[in-house]
Symmetry: C2
Subunit: 196 residues, 2 copies
């Protein structure tokens, strides 16, 4: 009996299609799980995706607003950015949080790891919860035209639940932080701020 | 004062790179928000992404397991599939649910809409909650080598919270269904089954 969780695809040939700093596209000639010939185009991400929910001493978080070029629309999100695959995702999230918002957090915990679009890409997202904050100076990259919005965690969570935040990393992170707080699975110091 | 939510990017030239049944890759020569020249590669999805959490009369749901080619790993997820952009996402989700699991649901509600990876793609996911189920016969596509697992909703939710389910649509949908049930925002008929 075959191993049902083993790779049922056979790769016959791999053709490089395109590469830039952010993505690498390849097309594979394959035999599909039924043994029939076909193609599979895969988008490899050159970076990890990282995100962080900062929670300050008043129970407020900071959202980042920016125009998302691929969507042709404006999007409010948690602070997010790409991380070098050779660097600990927490360090990349720490750097992005500082660059985008100027915030420095003394306490960090992993919130979730997800695959964002697994039928086409290998993009992996690492999201964190961060608290015990200190305000420094933001230094966004020039490709970023960012707005910041400080608001109670409960309001950011409500925006995600109402569909006013649509970015998958932000939606899932805000919901998971709320659930962990409700379930008593967060340190008291930050759970109280989230449920405030 | 400029409109801060307007498009701060200028497209100078658009170059088609690659297209198959599932994706279309283009490279834009741009001026970035700082007015400096650069490139932006965008992956357009040819289909909408749809997903559904079916809940049966015992409070059980059905997960679908498959090897995800881009990740090179096995993944348990809610029933998901691509939908023609010209078709109501609910109809596409209904068709996918029937094809993959054989389940037919009489009651449907929209659960969430998300953008899965908005720095690179325009992929949009539409997820639903479905209940009042009838069992028909599954008819998976030949590119799919699927396993089905029927389990209590609470167990599927716990798998998402523990990181054993990593697919973004599945993780976010399972958490949102639980939160809506806790908040009294679901019809009693299905809330009781989810909180069982």
């Amino acid at each position: 009996m075959p191993n049902k969780t083993a790779n049922p695809w056979t790769i016959l040939l791999t053709r490089p299609i395109y590469e830039n700093r952010w993505i690498r596209v390849v097309e594979h000639e394959v035999l599909n799980p039924a043994g029939k010939p076909g193609i599979y185009g895969v988008v490899h991400l050159q970076n990890l995706a990282t995100g962080v929910i900062p929670i300050d001493a008043d129970g407020y978080t900071t959202l980042v607003g920016q125009y998302r070029f691929p969507l042709k629309s404006y999007s409010w999100e948690i602070p997010e950015g790409g991380g070098d695959p050779g660097v600990d995702p927490l360090e990349s999230a720490r750097r992005e949080l500082a660059e985008e918002t100027g915030l420095i957090a003394r306490e960090w915990m992993p919130l979730l790891t997800m695959h964002l679009s697994n039928s086409i890409t290998d993009e992996t997202a690492y999201c964190f919860l961060a608290w015990d904050l200190e305000q420094g100076v933001a230094e966004p990259e020039e490709t970023e035209d960012l707005r910041l919005r400080r608001l109670p965690f409960a309001e950011a969570y409500a925006m995600a639940m109402r569909g006013e935040i649509t970015d998958a990393m932000a939606v899932a992170s805000l919901m998971k932080a709320r659930l962990l707080a409700l379930e008593g699975a967060l340190p008291d110091a930050v759970a109280g701020l989230i449920l405030r």
